[in-house]
Amino acid sequence: MAELTYREAVAAGIAQEMRRDKNVVFLGEDIAAAGGVFKATVGLFEEFGPLRVRDTPISEQAILGAAMGAAMTGLRPIAEIMFSDFLAVCWDIVANQMAKSRYMTDGQVSMPLVIRTANGGGSRFGAQHSQSVENWAMAIPGIKVVAPSNPADVKGLFAAAVRDNDPVLFFEQKSLYATKGEVPDGDHVEELGKAKVVRHGTDVTIVALALMVPRAVAAAERLQQVDGISATVVDVRSLVPLDTRTILSEVAKTGRLITVEENPRLCGWGAEISSIVAEEMFYDLDGPIVRITTPHIPLASADLLEDLMIPSVDRIYDEVRKAID
């Protein structure tokens, strides 16, 4: 075990996979010589050289297209899209090409690739560099969607993503890059599609993802201490595949569900989970399902405004307490 930052765990995860398999290659803007604009890929160029770690032009369609063509012909590429907002400039390759090719060709085409991207707010970058768009990806059949909340999961889920034979969109939360945690040494691989119960409670089940996980946990601690409310917190980790079994069984135990999303309100993954529970566990519920989300508004850039928009520990605490009262 070593203590790494979330950022260091990214580089460690990539390096682990590149060492293991020489078909793993990595491309993106400023990722090689410069070590990435978030410094999450420092050292890779030095270790693996220019043939395996390649700087690209500002050509996101070419980046993802190249990754796809390479994946179809024997490589296992990792492509970086610097900010997840930029997925919009290459969404065709993700949503219409990578996601559909295996199915459309009746299984002829294989697509073992990972797109990693910096997702989410908290850096005062404004509406075009702060979005949380994991729900865009979840809406597309044929794409797996992962979003780790801590350094150990970064490494373990990343390894799983690279070894998976399907296209995986791997969302790294920008505001988590500097956070630290213990990361297992050596070959560390998690399973895609497994949620993790990070806190056990009896009164309410809070389902969260990425940056919302530590916030939900902090809110749960306060609920316990101040109000005696005992909350379970589930870290979804993977939106596709979705571990409905864990979610449903945790909701069954508490009878209440609250989702905490960073994405804007409409059609978020919280709505999906809420609708699954409303359909399959209606009679097990003791009260309404509550969704806590960023409002359905572009993100403002001023620190004060941004902080009021993305669910905070205070807001999660308040809304859960209100819901349970």
Binding site: V25, L51, R54, T56, P57, S59, E60, Q61, A62, I63, L64, G65, A66, A67, M68, G69, A70, A71, M72, T73, G74, L75, P77, D92, I93, N96, Q97, S101, R102, Y103, M104, T105, D106, G107, Q108, V109, S110, M111, P112, P141, G142, D164, N165, D166, G193, V240, P241, L242, D243, T244, R245
Partner: protein, 343 residues
């Protein structure tokens, strides 16, 4: 077969034939296979046996055949919704093609993809792409893979004139050159997008060739209705790619005899335009050239009969194939063969 063109071809220089009889017969056969399969597809429409859309390459066969005939078996083809020909020339089965158009179990894609997505990975036909531009960057990925793996495979990417105006074209060309990838971009300029003349929406006269210099590439234009000419530029471009000297961009001038797709009667074409191009139909032109080169007409007729017979057989086999079973709906979304998004 269409009428032979009135104008006689110039006398061939037999001594200087860089192509040779065997290749010529192959190029003829490939063109004919494309033509016959697509004409059959058209007949099957009229019998309402093909339900979806379909985009024929009638008149453009010399391009598919000229390039296809120059490829190694492990080269990669990336093409468009107008990709029947490009898929066939790689060796994909006629039954698989016609079956897919009819939505039958025997289809190349088991009925899941349809006419616009023909693929036969075992033959190097890496897919037909129906959203303009997307496959250019994908083709460079296959070339990158070949380069990285150290093979001498070439990735060949076919697209239309209209495709030169979309962003992905630009991104792919630039990155291919910067990375010196073994990829050959082939623009089939058939003068039209769907219904709009390319000249009315393009800043330059030759939509691909006049852009080559923007990527430091040579400007190459070829008569896309002359399969020998096409074959020659293909060989040159492939040799360059295999030598590690990077990509080529080739503009082949041609014309589609039918409308853009099944739904299109092509009414937007000026009077006489189609007729003029029918006079330059690549297949009768090439048939005449074979004869001019001293190939016996009996040999030519033998190929024609053989192709027709195979198309007939493929048609019957495809017709006899059942529709896909409903079970396939849930297969092959994922590598594990299934489609589950939850446990």
């Amino acid at each position: 077969m269409a009428k032979r063109p009135a104008k006689k071809s110039p006398a061939p220089d037999l001594a200087n034939d860089d192509i040779g009889e065997e290749t010529r017969m192959k190029l003829f056969r490939l063109q004919l296979e494309c033509r016959q399969v697509e004409q059959r597809a058209n007949d099957l429409f009229l019998q309402n046996l093909i339900k979806g859309t379909s985009h024929l390459g009638l008149g453009q066969e010399a391009i598919a055949a000229g390039f296809g005939g120059a490829m190694q078996s492990d080269d990669y083809t990336f093409c468009t919704y107008r990709g029947h020909n490009h898929t066939l020339v790689r060796g994909a089965s006629m039954t698989g093609v016609l079956g897919e158009l009819m939505g039958r179990e025997c289809g190349l894609l088991g009925g899941k993809g349809g006419s616009m997505h023909l693929t036969s990975v075992e033959h190097g036909a890496m897919g037909s792409y129906a959203i303009i531009g997307a496959h250019l960057p994908i083709a460079i990925g296959a070339a990158w893979s070949a380069q990285y793996r150290g093979t001498d495979q070439v990735s060949v990417c076919f697209f239309g004139d209209g495709t030169t105006n979309i962003g992905a074209f630009h991104e792919a060309l630039n990155m291919a050159v910067v990375w010196k990838l073994p990829v050959v971009f082939v623009c089939e300029n058939n003068l039209y997008m769907e219904y709009t003349p390319i000249s009315s929406v393009t800043a330059v006269e030759n939509p691909a060739a006049d852009r080559a210099s923007a990527y430091g590439l040579d400007s190459i234009i070829v008569d896309g209705n002359d399969v020998d000419a096409v074959h020659r530029v293909a060989r040159t471009a492939f040799a360059k790619a295999r030598a590690g000297d990077g990509p080529s961009l080739i503009e082949a001038k041609t014309y589609r005899h039918s409308g853009h797709s099944r739904a299109d009667p092509g009414a937007y074409r000026p009077d006489g335009e189609l007729d003029a191009w029918l006079k330059r139909d690549p297949i009768p032109m090439y048939r005449q050239r074979l004869l001019d080169f001293g190939i016996g007409e009996a040999d030519v007729i033998k190929v024609e009969k053989d192709v027709l017979r195979r198309v007939d057989e493929a048609t019957e086999t495809a017709k006899a194939s059942p529709p896909p079973s409903a079970d396939v709906i849930v297969t092959d979304v994922w590598a594990d063969g299934g489609s589950a998004w939850r446990n």
